[in-house]
């Protein structure tokens, strides 16, 4: 039972990293992407390969994962950010669907549908460490970084672009660079989450990086509240405990649990947008931009 709870807590921390980094893009910079699971996957494969073939060191795995996920996101973001916001979403949806094909076909790097197995458990400078403290530490560091950025000039730049892009430009802000940096930071964070995921599960395959996963992360952000610092963490914990809760409902056949979950996520997204667009934690009257 303790092991189960520790594993659940580790997953919650990993998904919280995904949610807070996606929220950094959506809530602060106003850039909307449904491809966060792609960069999660890139990080997971990169981290797994480092651990399998180079060193089973968590720091190295996370660093390589962040570099690869952040770097590739930059290649995609720079052209895609030139077009209107609607089309960035369309492009990210296309990327999400294509990446899944890539992940299943690039068997040399990803192990194809079978995935990568036998990933060694995380070590830090030669010592074995638990995945839970590692993930919590990563989450804390990323939260600190986001809080610092949100208060500083970079956060102000992003928020000003979100609220009035042309006015931000008229004040001398290079909108394309600012947006690309936000995307790269968020996707590098997703990469770190991916590496931790690979080290924790000791197995990764393409099923963890689907559109459904991107939707789940998005739902976490929305349920918690966009543009708040801790809302997405709350959202991650809530939505991850949902499957455990559903398992106690006897009238749902086990084969349909996944579908029921998805329906609940979908309904939650729609209803929240209609009745409470600021999310559960966010409060419109107090201000979306305040962390």
């Amino acid at each position: 039972m303790t092991a189960y709870l520790a594993s659940l807590a580790t997953l919650a921390a990993i998904f919280a990293i995904l949610a807070v980094t996606l929220n950094f893009m959506v809530g602060y910079a106003g850039i909307f992407s449904v491809a966060h699971a792609v960069f999660f996957g890139l990080g997971a494969y990169a981290g797994a390969q480092v651990a399998l073939h180079l060193v089973p060191d968590a720091l190295a795995a996370c660093a390589v994962a962040a570099l690869i996920a952040g770097g590739l996101s930059l290649c995609l973001a720079l052209p895609a950010l030139r077009v209107r916001g609607e089309y960035f979403v369309a492009a990210s949806l296309g990327l999400q669907m294509m990446a899944l094909t890539l992940f299943s076909e690039a068997k040399g790097l990803t192990g194809g549908l079978g995935g990568l197995i036998g990933i060694p458990p995380p070590r830090l400078f030669g010592f074995a460490v638990g995945a839970l403290p590692l993930s919590l530490a990563a989450l804390a560091l990323i939260l600190l970084a986001i809080a610092a950025m949100a208060r500083g000039s970079f956060g102000r730049t992003l928020q000003s672009i979100r609220d009035a892009e042309s006015a931000a430009e008229a004040l001398g802000k290079n909108v394309a660079v600012a947006k690309a940096l936000a995307v790269a930071f968020a996707c590098a964070g997703a990469g770190v989450a991916g590496a931790l995921f690979a080290l924790h599960m000791q197995f990764v395959n393409v099923e963890s990086f689907t559109l459904e996963q991107s939707v789940l992360v998005m739902a976490m952000v929305i349920v918690g509240g966009t543009g708040t610092l801790l809302g997405p963490v709350v959202g991650a914990v809530l939505l991850l405990s949902l499957p455990a809760g559903l398992a106690f409902l006897p009238f749902i056949p086990p084969t349909e649990v996944g579908a029921v979950q998805q329906i609940i996520y979908g309904l939650a997204m729609t209803l929240l947008m209609i009745f409470r667009p600021a999310g559960l934690v966010g409060d419109l009257s107090r201000g979306r931009s305040e962390a």
């Binding site: 802000k173 290079n174 931009s289």
Partner: protein, 255 residues
């Protein structure tokens, strides 16, 4: 030209032109904005006043013409590049950073770099500039309020506070005083006079001719994308032909 360079107007445009699908919105506008003077752009709706601003700031590409900032061409530059060279503008619809606090709106105007570091300026100096802008616009007591929660006049002053804090040499203001009550207009006039005294070159789009008469040093009268007349405010405002155009011999919308 043997006058010293400092006497030249910092911003000078010649023959700016732009058409939209066959409609000539701006048809060869030449304009000079001298330092320490307020130039008012006056004219009926659709005369092309805002389009002239958009051409100067790089929000629109000009079909023809030149725009020189201190002798260097700024046409073809992106809006943020023009802004960094010292041209600040306001928008008719303000475009405030609605979900940010008043202070953050103004602080954002002092920070040009997109990255964490703001080369060339210290944090203290930027914060001081922001506080001074808040003080001058009477928004100091509202610094923590969100822009979206401000009253109409306060929003207009916040837009001005951003311009002030940007510390630009050239201001392009699009109807900054419209809809202001008398007390607010006086405060606005004082802002403009102070900036003029510091040597800022100001260009003002304004429909209220009382405001123009009080604040402008020169008027450029625009109609159908051309400068019909340019000169001393009193001379322009008394011209019966221009008045006829301005007050509508042709059918037009109400301002």
């Amino acid at each position: 030209m043997n006058r010293p360079a400092s006497m030249d107007p910092p911003l000078r445009c010649e023959g700016l032109a732009r058409s939209f699908g066959g409609v000539q919105a701006v048809a060869g506008v030449s304009l000079a904005l001298p330092a320490g003077q307020v130039t008012a752009l006056v004219g009926p709706n659709g005369a092309g006043k805002t389009t002239v601003f958009n051409l100067i700031t790089g929000n629109l590409r000009a079909d023809a013409g030149v725009a020189l900032l201190r002798g260097q061409s700024i046409l073809g530059l992106k809006p943020w590049q023009v802004a960094r060279r010292g041209v600040a503008r306001s928008f008719q619809d303000l475009r405030l950073f609605t979900h940010m606090s008043v202070r953050d709106n103004v602080l954002a105007a002092t920070e040009r770099s997109a990255w964490f570091w703001q080369p060339g300026t210290g944090r203290r100096a930027r914060e001081a500039a922001a506080e001074a802008a808040l003080e001058a616009t009477g928004l100091a007591t509202l610094a923590t309020a969100r822009a979206v929660d401000l009253a109409y006049a306060e929003r207009k002053f916040l837009s001005m506070a951003r311009i002030l804090a940007a510390q630009a040499e050239i201001w392009l203001l699009d109807e900054p005083a419209s809809g202001l009550d008398l007390a607010s207009r006086l405060r606005f006039g004082q802002l403009l006079k102070d900036a003029r005294a510091r040597g800022v070159a100001i260009c003002l789009i304004e429909h209220n001719l009382d405001v123009v008469a009080e604040l402008a040093d020169r008027i450029a009268f625009l109609d159908q994308g051309r400068v019909l007349a340019e000169g001393e405010p009193q001379a322009i405002l008394r011209d019966p032909q221009l008045a006829a155009i301005y007050f509508g011999d042709r059918p037009q919308e109400v301002a």
